[in-house]
Point group: C2
């Protein structure tokens, strides 16, 4: 191991303390603050050095914060990130700016950075990781996906012997809570969302969660790591959960399925990536079908590994603090060799310097669940069946239900055999123009395989 | 990060190749050999250096092995481990000797070691990890527990911010296959074991698996890491699965339970450890109850984390190769800073230099399932009920079934409320002497909480 002979001597608790600058003191920031303070002796033993919080950047430094040393507070995250006595910057502000700016400034100054910021890592991960490498600093982001569940580290190190075949993940707890509630209680989307907001699982403006934006950020990070490339958020095909109705959950259950917002990434034999976030019907025996409420889970398939599943609490102060502090301790113990120093692509160590290619959505082949609102009159099934046939779509099951005598409508639930997504798109466009069709209410993809 | 400033320069694929000595060419050894050969270019890119197999130690070097370079074969693992051109020793022989001896010799020579050897790590982990530290070498053993599932790395690094509260694990695929088959097919233990042997899941001599010895080795490793101490195999209370009968699976199912061989480790508020392997009745909704067949799973509870579950294929060539090669790549990229360099206890970095204390088994408090074979005559329930009462055990449910008119016997299935294990022991000793009791057939602990 001659090339490794000059590693730094292992620290001990007697070595000089290491300084942390904490950017952000929200729910997670407070969790990290408390953990570093309450467990200082334990963490010094585990990492080899005492860890001292040298400053905390908050929006309003004058607001009293019980239990927090007021002398540490400031309202200038950039200045804190640049301070001489700050060795590690822990960025927990969220959002793009000033977070990305502070991270980049810290890395340029040779400071290591630990962040929980999925948006910054999804949008600027490749550039920031390259910057870290250039300046001999570590940039760790385990907390950016899956809260307390280790998934970044497994993909970068523990599973690195594999050719990863696919990822299937539930990585947004808010939507999983809503979908679980709709399935279990038969409530409407609006009622389930309100309950999620009441419990603090959903923001007042829930768009980032329910439109799949948050999941797409996280999936961009996971797919970049799994496939040794750079997937950007805009590369992720994305559908949210707002079109689902209580009846879809009843029909899904009757058919033996549950509905989950899945984040899926795969690579076809030609190397093109398939990266998408959308609701999916999962067989009720699928391991991801059992992931209820605010839990998260990531299933990884590799050529050697087979399938492994990582499951746990994907958000919240405790779990996210667990991931952030583990990264901090790793940096303290191992410096620039902590975590993954490998940029996602382009720079030395990446394996796919060119931009990734993506499978055109129309070429995807899947089974589909369709709910169609029709006029309740003879010949409807024949008319719709004709449009399926014209578009080369084979029907697996068809159920006409819930005639509404007043409105004169009925609902038809169709599941298809495997079909091309472009054919499904064409079916929907054509069927929408039929006089008998009142509404092509919803289309949900079936099954988790990419 | 001044103390870390002297880390070795990051390798590149252009750096000098690194030499691997492979000890053992069984199912896993062959998997590792093939992976290192077939993926050489990819692994060079990912780790920064080309990895060359410099020699392979086998029992019979003259036996032809299709696809293996005969010039690499030798029958002297000690000599191979000591060779100048071998930088990393990969030990896949299994068993204590000569494996432990080869590992120690390699570490003393400053070579890093990757092993899948649960027995060596469970018995000599503390000494070998201290030896590795002393000689500035890495000793990695991710493959020793859970096959391809990352669990050693999560416990040593990703979850290190936590005070780990408990582990509940299914870490022996052979017994889980047998238990799953007995539950699903209603077969006897002997028939299920024979099927496991037919499929290659069980050895001709299945004792190590079915007596819980293999699981105890693995649990000793996990508990040592989780609780920052040194748990030896003999510290693990252990019961196998050989006493279970087909009827237990029927009764368990009727009561809403499944039977699993659980490996459990916990720490009580006073710091005493509770470390045991035994069959347990799990509520059918418990996440571990759904882990079927040869799958493994480890549930970890931490103060920050809540609960996380790691699930996947716990054995076999591919999954184990995934873990072994990941460790090799980690050593190639990070040298002595790869994996966990922290000895389990006693040496610098351990947090519990004294020997761990264990909860006396009699003090455990749990619920119990008991199956008792009695003479089928009036007054039996009253007699047995009296022995329960005398021993302060409260009955939760009682079922008398399956009277055998010919033998004049009946079976009684009892579940208790929470009771002290010493009281259960005393009940069993007393009840066994009753004239009405023909056989105290089985006692299974209920629930997974320690």
């Amino acid at each position: 191991m001659s090339a490794q002979a000059t590693v730094a001597s292992q620290g001990s608790a007697g070595a000089a303390p290491i300084g942390v600058g904490l950017l952000g003191l929200g729910v997670v920031g407070r969790g990290v603050y408390d953990a570093l303070r309450d467990n200082a002796a334990t963490y010094a033993e585990r990492s080899g050095r005492r860890i001292e919080i040298r400053g905390v950047a908050v929006r309003d430094a004058d607001r009293p914060r019980p239990g927090v040393d007021a002398a540490l507070l400031s309202s200038d995250p950039r200045a804190l990130a640049a301070r001489e006595d700050v060795d590690i910057v822990v960025e927990l502000m969220g959002g793009m700016e000033p977070a990305a700016d502070c991270i980049a400034a810290a890395l340029r100054a040779g400071k290591s950075v630990v962040t929980a910021n999925k948006e910054v890592m999804a949008r600027q991960g490749p550039e920031l990781l390259a910057l870290a490498q250039e300046h001999d600093a570590a940039l760790l982001y385990e907390a950016s996906v899956g809260g307390g569940i280790p998934i970044i580290a497994p993909l970068t190190r523990d599973l690195q012997a594999n050719d990863i075949r696919s990822l299937h993940a539930i990585i947004n707890g808010t939507t999983n809570f809503i979908l679980t509630a709709m399935a279990q209680d038969g409530t409407s989307y609006d009622a389930a969302l309100a309950e999620a907001q009441r419990r603090g699982y959903a923001e007042a403006d829930p768009a980032s969660d329910v439109e799949g934006i948050d999941a797409a950020f996280k999936l961009a990070i996971l797919a970049s790591l799994a496939f040794h490339t750079s997937v950007r958020p805009d590369d992720v095909y994305r559908e949210g959960i707002t079109a689902l109705s209580a009846s879809d959950f009843r029909f899904a259950a009757d058919l033996g399925y549950v509905i989950r917002l899945l984040a899926i990434a795969g690579r076809d034999p030609a190397g093109a990536l398939d990266v998408r976030v959308h609701p999916a019907l999962l067989d009720s025996h699928d391991p991801l079908a059992r992931v209820d409420g605010v839990l998260n889970a990531v299933a990884v398939e590799g050529d050697l590994l087979g399938r492994a599943i990582f499951e746990g609490e994907g958000a919240g102060s405790g779990p996210t603090t667990s991931a952030v502090v583990a990264d901090v301790l790793d940096v303290v113990a191992n410096g620039v060799r902590a975590g993954s120093r490998r940029p996602w692509a382009g720079a030395a160590g990446g394996t796919d310097p060119s931009a990734p290619r993506f499978v055109p959505r129309g070429e995807l082949r899947m089974r589909y669940y369709l709910r169609v609102l029709v006029r309740d009159r003879p010949g409807v099934i024949a008319e719709i069946g004709r449009v399926f046939a014209t578009n080369h779509i084979s029907i697996a099951s068809l159920l006409q239900v819930e005639a509404d005598a007043v409105a004169g409508t009925a609902e038809i639930i169709i599941t298809t055999h495997e079909a091309r997504e472009s054919d499904i798109d064409r079916f929907m466009a054509t069927a929408a123009m039929l006089d008998v069709v009142r509404d092509l209410a919803v289309r949900i993809r079936i099954g988790s395989r990419p």
